[in-house]
Amino acid sequence: MDQLQFLTAMGITIFGMGVLGFLTRRSGIVALMCLELMLNGVNLCLVSFSHIHGSADGSALMMLIVLVAAAEAALALALFVAIFRQSSSVELDDYRMLKG
């Protein structure tokens, strides 16, 4: 196992953890954290590929992903705070009003 395989396996492991948590956790905020984990796994893969090929393309993409993740976290957390003010819960199972 060389470094690329190891780093890619680590990225996939983090991504898999994120998928598991996103699909199974019922708390909206913990689901958001798992989303961040998934993005983090993708970032690790991008940076390792960029490192192996000796180009900065993957790292530049990683910067863009970090910016998107920051915007997404701020917006989603504000959304959850706004919802929490009205329904006093961030459990995803409690949001059934939009289900026809």
Binding site: M1, Q5, I12
Partner: protein, 184 residues
């Protein structure tokens, strides 16, 4: 290509443990703390392959800003601890576990054709000699961002503007007189 160093195996184990605790922990505060640890350790992993600028950005923005935002919100909302297991709805539970396991195993099998080589006991803490000269420097990355990835970079500015406006709108008090209870 070199084998992973002992430092990287140690980091990998710690990242595995902290991400597992993020997903399985029952207290959202502990989940957020473990998320911060995962992001920080990933930054150290970037350091270990010689991508210093990327690692610094990871620690500053991810571990320093985003996870602090998570911890702040979790403490603000004062969430109750919830166990990982879901009462009832077993098919959904197994479906979720199966899908994520499928993702995980499929991707792992595709990248790991040969497990187990020698050279595990390589005590080099940081593999700097692997660094292709000038590939991961701030200069190279910013040149890419401002030439090849100029359009995504500018669109990101629009995205940040939209996010700021959205957060301001969402955080504002609802001034409508007839709103009792709102949408929920």
């Amino acid at each position: 290509m070199k084998d992973p160093t002992v430092f990287q195996y140690l980091l990998g184990t710690l990242i595995f443990a902290t991400s597992m605790l993020t997903v399985l922990g029952k207290n959202p505060v502990m989940s957020a703390m473990n998320l911060m640890a995962t992001l920080f350790l990933t930054g150290l992993m970037y350091f270990s392959v010689g991508a210093y600028f990327v690692g610094a950005v990871q620690i500053l923005i991810y571990a320093g800003a985003i996870s602090v935002l998570f911890i702040f919100i979790v403490m603000l909302l004062d969430l109750k601890p919830r166990y990982f297991q879901i009462p009832g709805r077993k098919p959904v539970y197994f479906l979720a576990g199966g899908i994520s396991l499928l993702f995980f195993v499929g991707l792992i099998v595709s990248v790991l054709p040969a497990l187990g080589e020698n050279g595990i006991l390589d005590f080099g803490l940081i593999a700097t000699n692997e660094l292709v000269s000038g590939s991961q420097t701030p200069e190279a990355i910013s040149l890419r961002l401002l030439s090849k990835y100029m359009l995504p970079f500018q669109v990101t500015a629009l995205l940040l503007l939209a996010a700021v406006m959205g957060v301001v709108v969402l955080g504002k008090k609802n001034k409508l007189p007839e709103s009792d209870g709102g949408i929920f």
